[in-house]
């Protein structure tokens, strides 16, 4: 009933206003197959200022973390008698209470955090998305899953983490599980929102009227179109995951010594904040950089991939 083309002039976002006719826009990328077009859109995101900054920070951090054993071959547990020293030529970030180099420990801590993120976030993303999409196959199951996710959502992140640690005992796997469970409602809701939105889309309805099976509709039509917001959500959730790790470690329920993690370094650092305020500097900076890189990337993706 509404003439969409006319609307464009008045109310659509300004960038969408090239006053050409509805005749086909010049399309240089016409013949690119599906995968590449998607990849290209993501690459475009990484070319925005935020994307470039985010990606650069992330690349540096990731590289340092991966190469840690090469850069610091002696490991993170080189104890010396010089404890709680400030910054010096030998120890850029000073030393900890057992005389270990804090730069080394921070880098290895970053490594630990990456190892948690790399496992927990994709796990949560896949499981959460699957749970959110259950509704496409069965209405009842979808509703039940949503209820369960609501209940998980009722638990503030740290409380949930505490509960998981209570059962599993502190450590790497408890953190992974806590983070993965914590993300379920997050991704589940996102997937469900995408699902509901997609279900109303005419191309989904069109496929259904053609007689395309539920599974095929889900796989071919809904999932590819739902994947963008979930990926952006994933990038944002990495930030949450880093916070959960650090938060639990700070109250002593996270990574256990001698393995450093950004949070466990802070946990000990707080104890010596009067004697050596320098202690928490490294982990703090790296933690902020790490979460900032992901939130910048999420912003960049959000801008170019979703609002296009």
């Amino acid at each position: 009933m509404r003439n969409n083309d006319v609307t464009t002039m008045g109310a659509a976002p300004p960038t969408d206003t090239p006053p050409t006719d509805t005749s086909a826009r010049p399309a240089p990328r016409t013949r690119t197959p599906g995968g590449n077009a998607t990849v290209r859109r993501y690459l475009a995101a990484f070319r925005t200022p935020r994307g470039v900054i985010g990606l650069t920070i992330l690349a540096v951090l990731l590289l340092t973390a991966v190469l840690a054993p090469v850069i610091f071959p002696h490991g993170y547990d080189q104890q010396t008698a010089d404890s709680l020293r400030g910054s010096s030529g030998r120890h850029l970030l000073g030393t900890d209470e057992l005389g270990r180099d804090l730069l080394v420990r921070t880098v290895y801590g970053l490594r630990t955090d990456f190892s948690i993120i790399v496992v927990a976030v994709p796990l949560s993303m896949i499981a959460g998305t699957a749970l959110g999409l259950v509704g496409a196959l069965s209405r009842v199951a979808g509703a039940v899953v949503q209820r369960v996710l609501d209940i998980i959502l009722g638990f503030p992140g740290v409380v949930l983490g505490v509960c998981v640690v209570l059962i599993m005992g502190p450590g790497w796997s408890a953190l992974v599980v806590a983070i993965a469970i914590g993300g379920l409602p997050y991704f589940g809701r996102q997937a469900r929102a995408a699902l509901l939105e997609q279900m109303g889309r005419e191309y989904v309805v069109a496929a259904r009227t053609l007689g395309v099976g539920k599974g095929a509709v889900l796989w071919r039509h809904i999932l590819p179109n739902a994947v963008d917001p979930i990926l952006v959500g994933g990038a944002i959730f990495v930030v949450v995951a880093v916070f959960i790790e650090a938060g639990l470690s700070i109250i002593g329920l996270g990574i256990q010594p001698p393995t450093p993690s950004l949070g466990s370094l802070l946990n000990v650092g707080i104890r010596f904040i009067e004697q050596s305020p320098m202690y928490i500097l490294g982990p703090t900076a790296v933690l902020i950089l790490l979460s900032m890189s992901f939130s910048l990337l999420a912003d960049a993706l959000n801008e170019t991939v979703i609002r296009k």
Partner: protein
Amino acid sequence: MSTEPLLRVHDLEVTFDLQDEQLKAVDGVSFDVRPGRILGIVGESGSGKSVTSRAIMQMIRHPGKVTGGEVRLNGRDLLRLNEKEMLAVRGKEVAMIFQDPQAALNPVMRIKDQVVEALHIHGVDSATAQARALELLEQVGIPNVPEAARKFPHQFSGGMRQRVVIAIALANNPSLLIADEPTTALDVTIQAQILDLLRRLRDELGVAILFITHDMGVVAELCDDVVVMHLGRIVERGPVRKVLTAPEDPYTIGLMDAIPKMDSPLRDDAPEQEHTVLEVRELKTDVNTARPGWFRKPKPFYAVNGVSLEVRAGETLALVGESGCGKSTLSRTVVGINEPAGGEILVNGTAVSARSDEQRRALARTIQYVFQDPYSSLNPRRTAGQSLEEALRIAGVPRADVRDRSVELLERVSLGPQYLDRYPWAFSGGQRQRIGIARALASDPRLLILDEPVSALDVSIQAQILTLLTDLQKTFDLAYLFISHDLAVVREISHRVAVMNHGEIVEQGTTEDVFENPQHPYTRTLLTATPDLDKAIA
């Protein structure tokens, strides 16, 4: 005609600063608006008509910029005014009416407050403003003003909202009213009322109106003068009657030809066959799915309430009605998107339902659906070829033949094979709709349900699609259930017409009968409300 122009737009130029190019949306546009006259600006999408109107108010959105010309209101060049001086002009000397009254009203403000605000801003004191607001609402025909004034926009119908927007525009007695497609979002009957109102206000208040529209019929009914815009330039101007009856510019001529007219000859190719492809008996559809509580049953709302109709092979049955009358729900129930709450659907004489995928597939071999919005009925992540392939595979075409058959389908809708690997965004609206039709043809159906297939398209494109549909019908002996709110289009394409209102069919008959000799009062209202190009000019 001798009076000094109230508004003189001279050589206006608006440029959009896009990332890769400078785009001149308005390129050397000049026109005058005289007091008490209505000037229509007509054009298809992208012609620059809205941008022009916004330029007058200095309300062009980023990244657009006025790059030349002047806009003189009572001799003063508005483009030379700074933002602060413009604040005093907007709403005081020039006021604006928008396309979508639903979006144009602040959803969280009571309507009276919105009218009062317009007065308030220009220095009217509170008590006077309150009284004036009620007066204005009365003037634009809001019933039961004292009560209505306290309501929020969402509690009004579209027509009433547009009246409120007009009341706001009139608040400070502006000398110029800019109306940007004010009736496009409204049903014809409401549109007629709003046009009436505008005419009345012009007559009573002597306000000049700049009326932007894409609809020649509306221009014919309302305007005194008209300018036709195309790609940012004015291609034709003059008194309405002259431009509409004797256009000179080739673009205008083409445009006028493309417009379906209420006096063009009816179709005379009604098929001889008596075979009924689709029969609907006493169909009911409940659309109230909202759950009111845990233990209460929802109260049913029947969008389709006991409808019976039949479509014979090779014929076009048009289903006409205004928004919310249930015509789309009816068609969606037939193909199984909605579930019927009662009644029967017979395809080729056998009762069917479309509950399971299996049943849908069987149904899809006979009946296919073409959607209104070609933008959203194609999956943006799949190429045209992939969309066709899916439909062909469902129809049982072996994988090896898919490519050939896809090319064949594209040819049927006059598209070349090079389009197969394109994504939907690389197509124009008309091309997308062609692909939608091609997909529907994949299973060699007997009946197409066309749900407002052309209402999202510009007139010229609309004409092409209608021609394509007629050709396809002849070639493949297709039956159409053609759903539309546009009587002119319906008249041009249908053999028979069913008029729907409030979920029921109020009148059914041959196109000639319904248009020439309408029986039901609702049908008559619809017909009178539809702007009639020729009658207006005559």
